[in-house]
């Protein structure tokens, strides 16, 4: 799991022929008239060879990139991509011409910059099912969980990490600068001021969660006016812009993912599946009739299909995929 990003680029590349077949199956299943026969054919193809399954995970990854576009941005995405592609084509023509004329000085390229690009884009990010471990210039280590994005901004007075999406785990190092600079993580709801620590932060919709495993972290919700509660090791709290909830015991799962594990300590199945769905493309649903089944256990995040198979083997449930990217867990 920790090597997810690397594993994608390295090692055995699938056969082009197999990719071709996978692409054809995609076109068949995506058609509005795809029937049971097609789906059965596709399943047989999948079952026939591990290389087929591997190629199919690539199809899912590509189609996931579209599915995971923010819904309110989709309508304009097509236009933006077309405009940009037009520009690229004309840049290529121009670059070709410049080369022909033997001209140099590409640095003077005439694109105007209206907005600092770092304000718009996250410098480090992971896709669904990937994770990333990185080390910042002062030795601070940061792990990015699935579908996460951060910006790191170190200046003369502050070491700042902005969590744009998803979840990170931070292990701070003492500052290398002559005057030690504070280390903070900013989320959409406020600032976390680290006091020599290991801690996890997760950005939810409209709230953030922080869990401290070593040292302490001060929570400064946006509207708190510069003072907030301090969490000690073993505590976790959820906060919004207006304030923090009382501290609760830190959940192991907020740290376990850095080792590629999903830990359930007497968790509701619905909550477990919603957590698991963060690591796989497509939709993963839970039938309300089994939502309250409790689960305990430790599962490897590297293969979410195996996690689902394990649930089937140990709980009174079955896993059904009516469509390629749609999986539901139902009563047996």
């Amino acid at each position: 799991m920790a090597a997810g990003a690397a594993a994608e680029t390295a090692a055995d590349e699938p056969d082009y022929r197999v990719l071709q077949e996978a692409a054809e199956w995609f076109a068949v299943l995506r058609a509005p008239d795809a029937g049971d026969g097609d789906i059965q054919g596709w399943r047989n193809w999948l079952a026939a060879d591990a290389a087929h399954r591997q190629a199919w995970t690539r199809v899912e990854a590509v189609s996931g990139k579209f599915e995971h576009l923010p819904a309110d941005g989709k309508p304009m995405a097509h236009r933006i991509l077309d405009t940009a592609a037009g520009r690229q084509a004309s840049r290529r023509r121009t670059v070709g011409m410049l080369a022909l004329l033997g001209a140099t000085g590409m640095g003077a390229w005439g694109l105007k910059r209206t907005v600092p690009w770092q304000a718009w884009t996250a410098a480090h990010r992971t896709g669904t099912g990937q994770s990333l471990e990185m080390r910042l210039s002062d030795g601070t280590r940061i792990w990015l969980n699935t579908a996460s994005a951060i910006d790191a901004d170190y200046n003369g007075t502050l070491r700042r990490v902005f969590l744009r999406a998803g979840e990170i785990f931070v292990e701070t190092a003492s500052d290398t600068a002559a005057t030690p600079r504070p280390f903070v993580v900013d989320t959409a709801q406020g600032r976390l001021h680290a006091l020599g620590t290991r801690f996890g932060v997760r950005q939810l919709d409209g709230a953030s969660i922080v869990a401290v495993f070593e040292g302490a972290v001060e929570i400064l919700p946006q509207e708190s006016g510069g003072a907030g509660p301090v969490l000690r090791a073993g505590e976790q709290a959820r906060f919004t812009a207006s304030g923090a909830r009382p501290a609760a015991p830190a959940e192991a799962r907020l740290q376990a993912w850095t080792r590629g594990l999903l830990v359930a300590e007497d968790m509701r199945l619905a909550d477990f599946l919603s957590d698991l769905s963060r690591y796989r493309p497509g939709y993963l649903g839970c039938d309300p009739r089994v939502a309250d089944v409790r689960i305990v256990g430790t599962y490897a995040l590297s293969d979410t299909d195996r996690v689902l198979a394990a649930l089937e083997a140990t709980l009174p449930v079955r896993v059904r995929s009516p469509l390629p990217w749609w999986t539901v867990v139902e009563p047996f």
Partner: protein, 169 residues
């Protein structure tokens, strides 16, 4: 000491070549700020690689990585420009939140790279299906081709994306 073979020690690499790399990037980009950013990104990229690399020519290694980042940087600017132009056309109530914008922009850059150099008709069919949610019949009508052709375009576009990791950047 550009030609000494040594196992990759990022600190040494940084001390010896950071200034030089930043100069190289400044000449390419014509802008000191972006050059500093990309030089930093180049070293971060190297830090992200776990395996030690024996470096005979560290500067060639650095420029290989930096050149890739420069290309991405230009593409990103083109996307960003197109994005801002589109945003201006949106009614205020429809314009997405800053968080959404950052994610959208990042995702668009990724898609743009995936679709790079795909045949325009296949590309259009694929985007009409994946982004605009159109069915094959509607796409066929718009593009004035048969539904069978649309299916072919879809497969062609998907194959292009699947193989994008196999192409050299």
């Amino acid at each position: 000491m550009p030609d000494r073979t040594s196992s990759l020690n990022v600190e040494t690499l940084y001390c010896d070549h950071h200034g030089w790399l930043q100069g190289w990037l400044r000449r390419k980009l014509g802008n000191a700020c972006d050059a500093a950013d990309l030089a930093q990104d180049t070293f971060l990229r190297i830090l992200g690689k776990r395996e030690a690399v024996a470096l005979r020519e560290p500067r060639a290694y650095l420029t290989t990585i930096a050149r890739g980042l420069v290309v991405n940087f230009w593409r990103r600017q083109e996307i960003e420009q197109a994005y801002l132009e589109t945003l201006i056309l949106q009614p205020e109530s429809l314009s997405p939140s800053p968080e959404t914008r950052a994610l959208l922009l990042e995702a668009l850059c990724e898609l743009d790279a995936l679709l790079d150099r795909l045949n325009p008709k296949a590309r259009n069919a694929f985007l009409l299906a994946q982004l605009d949610g159109l069915g094959y019949r509607e796409i066929a009508e718009r593009l004035q081709v048969s539904e069978r052709m649309v299916k072919k375009y879809m497969a062609q576009a998907m194959l292009h994306c699947l193989a994008s990791g196999l192409r050299t950047p």
